[in-house]
Symmetry: C2
Subunit: 270 residues, 2 copies
């Protein structure tokens, strides 16, 4: 998917909501556990109920790997379902991968070609040659971790390197990498006060913003400094939406939560 | 596996060799492609031929994920085979994972409990709460990326943070994390001159050292500064061993290459 297609979808739906599909069999409604594939059954119901309210879905691969082959199959089925039924929706493999060049190429092929995701999250620690193999894929997007939403972000990411924080160095340095136009960045909603400075470095890039909802981030704060002329934001909520109810009404409850966020976004965009 | 069991194995075998099982279907001998599971058939033959010469095997998960369900199944079969036939051998999932706390717990369970690996490699960028969930597992080992073997290591890892390089900050900071005794570190063989300073910070920890062989690192240089009283090194070779021959003699050729390294290690240890 091109960035222009993503922007067109955002404008049409008046939403820049991304829904995180972090499926935990201990949290999904009990009646689904009798299904042949409870993980996919849960995802399908959530997608069917929310696809008009969001522009992206983001399965975190950890939740699927935790269930071994069964989990990996459910991940495949989920992205296939999205690509077939809702090809306009942007798909994000939240995998936080990154390795030496020939190995990163393997990961890129796995997520972009075999699984058919539009984008994948990548960790920057190993530098240019660990990220450029992902950037080489046309109309695919590499979402680099910059400033994450967790407490541990302060261990290294905000430490000063040559007078600038490490995450700022990541932003600056990565702009010079080959095919940098295919970069987006993860910036946590719990650190909204940082968005102003981040936008000075990367005014045009899309930011994937986790941490709204369960982690305590605030949508208004994020938008105040994070929005740009092409919107430039994908705001993610996972647990706050998908686990809104443990009953048979779980999908409708998720849609209600998603709609509340979408309405808030529509008001901000207008 | 406890660290003491690993050390005992090293002393018994006079080897601190780790063999990287990075299986690429385009590089394995053609006759294996007719096998029902070529990836596992290749790994099994390599393990059968080399298990007396090495103390650890390290499948890089990227190579398995690249083949989807088929690859994931081959990874499961490989680690199961090792755990059943050679329980004394240390197994490393080279996965370079790391995520916010509740998600890292998922990865830790996937690799330590479901797949049954002894250890997993983890990226430090997200800090303490992304790593401690891995450290919570008793007699399991978390191998943190410190100074990697690739060119991109110079992009961020060697940059100065408060007067010390970032990778030194990672070493220092991680020592204070809960259950830090379960930490090992990745330090690339291509940067042997750095080992002396690294040993000042972490004299006792085991180092997993990639980059000998195909990437150009030198075993003598690594050992000169990297060895400690409890050996403290696992030196990995992947392509240099497993792709020693494309013929039907591939496993024997791999054993010959592994034995050459083992002999060199035995001489260093004596």
């Amino acid at each position: 998917m091109t960035t222009q297609e993503l922007i067109a979808q955002i404008k049409k739906k008046k939403s820049f909501l991304c829904i995180g599909l972090d499926v935990d069999l201990e949290k999904i409604p009990k009646h689904l556990l009798n299904d042949e594939d409870p993980i996919f059954a849960f995802n399908k119901a959530i997608i069917d109920a929310t696809h008009n309210l969001c522009v992206a879905y983001k399965p975190n691969t950890a939740f699927y790997e935790a269930y071994g082959l069964k989990g990996w199959r459910a991940l495949e089925k989920t992205v296939n379902y999205l690509n077939e039924k809702h090809p306009e929706i942007f798909t994000i493999a939240d995998a936080k991968r990154g390795d030496i060049g020939n190995t990163s190429t393997r990961y890129a092929k796995a997520f972009f070609e075999d699984l058919g995701f539009d984008s994948v999250t990548v960790a920057p620690y190993m530098g240019r040659d660990s990220v450029e193999p992902f950037l080489a894929f046309e109309n695919k997007h590499t979402i680099l971790l910059a400033l994450t939403s967790n407490e541990g972000a302060f261990d290294f990411q905000t430490k000063l390197v040559d007078g600038k924080s490490l995450y700022n160095q990541v932003l600056e340095t990565s702009k010079a990498w080959k095919n940098a136009k295919n970069l987006m960045y993860v910036v946590g909603a719990t650190k909204a006060e940082y968005f102003k400075d981040i936008r000075k470095i990367i005014p045009d890039a899309f930011l994937l913003v986790p941490g709204v909802g369960a982690q305590g981030g605030n949508l208004q704060d994020v938008c105040k400094y994070g929005l740009n002329a092409q919107i430039g934001l994908l705001v993610n909520s996972s647990r706050g939406i998908i686990y809104a109810s443990e009953g048979v009404d779980f999908a409708q409850a998720a849609a209600t939560k998603a709609e509340a966020l979408q309405q808030e976004m529509a008001a901000i965009l207008s």
